[in-house]
Each structure stands twice: as C-alpha cells, then as structure tokens.
Symmetry: C2
Subunit: 193 residues, 2 copies
C-alpha cells in the first residue's frame, strides 16, 4: 500500500495535546486512546508527560533546556511509532512553540502531525488543582511552574482548539475523534486490518 519512498503518506499520525497542568490533557488522552483502540481498532502508543518523566526522562528537571529535552525524546518515540504506521497520542504541557515546531518536523518525516491545544483557562486549572501543584507553585514550594512562574507559549495556529472547561473529558475526546474523521477524509482512521 505504501513503500519506503512514500513513507510520509502512511497511515500513522501523532497527536499532541498541549496545555497547562490540570487542563485535562491526560484524561482526554485516555478516552481518546480507548476509542481508537476499541472502536477504530488501531494500535496506539500513549505518551503521557507524567509517565514519560518516570522512565524515558527520569532525572530531567523543569528548566527550559530540560523541558525541551523531555519533549524532544517524546517526539522521537512518537516519530518512530508513526514511521511504523501507528498512532501516537502525546499528552504533555510542551510550553515552548520551538519544541512543538521541532516535534512537528520530526513526525512529519513519516506521517501526519496534529497539534491540539487544550485551552482550559488557568483559573479553572488552578481551581481544580487535582494534584495540588498550583498550591505548591503559589507557595513557592515548586519553582518553574508553567503558567505561574514559567511561561506557556499558547499555540497560535493549532490544528484544533478545545476548551476543556466546558463538558467532560469524554466529550473533548469525541471532539478530537470528529476532527480526525473530518480531516482524514479519504485516509483511513479505522484499521484496514
């Protein structure tokens, strides 16, 4: 169906869910992955920022350089998944535009890349504060916290923007599925197997 010479037209793609801590990225990603596996019968690699930090990026901190390394490693794994025609769902803050552009370039060597901006207002993220991180950032216990003491460069032209302060993570995941179905058109979102 494809060969090495037109690898970039393969059926694989990577989806980056970028946004603040507490925006709902991980929850949306989990629902999305479940849908893609169960309904679309696709193989999916979930690369969640928190999980990735435990193994792939253990030892990295939150400086600009370390954050960029973190995203670069995740982008590398995502690009390899796409090379093999898989789907990579990446849920990570990825606060720097430069990192996200580099990620797009890496992935597009092999397939499609979509940037989804999970745009939940910071006051909503902070009011949820599921992991208690905002409180720690305000008290100074955590330094370099995105949105409080470290920048988040909001995507200017994301492929899709979601306000996850409205509706459930499941509803947001469905919004992404609709987007994928629409943008895929002739291509197959559903497995050809």
């Amino acid at each position: 169906m494809t060969n090495e010479s037109d690898e970039s037209s393969g059926n694989g793609f990577a989806l980056l869910l970028t946004g603040l801590s507490g925006a709902g990225k991980s929850s949306i990603a989990r629902h999305l992955v479940e849908y893609l596996q169960q309904e679309a019968k696709r193989r999916v690699t979930l690369l969640d920022g928190d999980e990735v930090r435990k193994h792939l990026c253990a030892g990295l901190g939150f400086s600009r350089e370390d954050r960029m390394t973190n995203v670069r490693r995740l982008a590398y794994v995502a690009s390899e998944v796409v090379k093999h025609e898989g789907i990579a769902v990446c849920a990570i803050i990825a606060p720097y535009a430069q990192s996200r552009i580099a990620m797009r370039e890496m992935v597009q060597r092999y397939g499609r890349f979509y940037e989804v901006y999970v745009n939940t207002p910071i006051d909503v993220c902070e009011s949820r504060d599921v992991k208690g991180l905002y409180a720690k950032a305000r008290s100074g216990e955590i330094q370099l916290f995105t949105g409080i003491t470290d920048p988040y460069e909001a995507p200017v032209q994301p492929d899709l923007e979601i306000d996850a302060s409205v509706g459930s993570p499941l509803a947001s995941a469905h919004q992404i599925v609709d987007f994928l179905a629409h943008i895929s058109k002739g291509r197959q979102l559903f497995s050809r197997r």
Copy 2:
C-alpha cells in the same frame, strides 16, 4: 490479519545484538537494516547504543544502574516499535543478563524477540580498537569499561551466536537474515504490503 487481542502474534520483532565494544555490532546492524528495508521492504528502527546515548539517554553514565536504565529505555522504544508491527534492531553492549531478560519480557508483550550474541573475542576487539577506547580503558583514562574493568555477562542461551572475528560485517548480517528466514517459517519476514 491480527487484532488487539492477539497482538503478540503480530509481524513485528526486535533483535538485540549484544557483545563487547568493537565486536562489530553497529556495522552488522547497519547492513542488516539495509537488507530488511531494501530487500524485505520492511520498516525498521535502528537503535544503536552510541546514537541512543546522544539523545534518548543523554546524561547517563556507565555505572551498573545507568547502563540498566540505558537498556531499559531502548527496550521501551523497541517494544513500542514491535507493538506497531515494525522491526527494531538494537545494537548495544547490554552487558547484564538481567537487563536482557527484562528487554525480552518487554518486547514479548507485543511480538517476537531474538537475542543475537556477537561473540568476538576480546583480543580481536582490542586489536581493532576502532574508537581507541580499549587503549583509554587500559591507561585508566576510561573507567568502567566493559570487558576490561566492568563485567560482560555473556549470553548463555542466545537465539543466535555469531563469531564476527571471522568474515565481514556483511557476511554476519547475512547469517542473521538466514536465521530470521529459518525461524520465521510461516510468518512473513518480507513485507505483506
């Protein structure tokens, strides 16, 4: 052809080329990857120890713990490649049996795993000393050097053993191809695309 419930019977596999520094792992791996891409029309991810240390594992040293982390990260990427039915060729010293067993377990969740022991005698590796590392290890400039000042736990029951002191890297790569063709039998080594 396959679905999520029998993922482990997929067409993907990982091949670990383990052996001393200078054994010929990288050269053999490059020839093997070329064959698999050009002749078998398969998509292949090459995970070379030296390359991996530059990005995926930047900052890791050569202590037992760091070496194990190094192999674990590479095993993680390899297992994701295999999950998506790709081929991962891993050329890395991987001196500890425990690491190699863990790698096998990670990969076998999704597909096949073969351990190839590139068994080149240390005096041959040292006489080649392509990167000048053995000289530095002997002089003490490099510490914790596998085979000199750090252990290499030779595989007891590798899936394939190659003496790369005999013949060219290309010949060794062909030996691996023959092995794969033999062991694959009903399965497809060549692309079904």
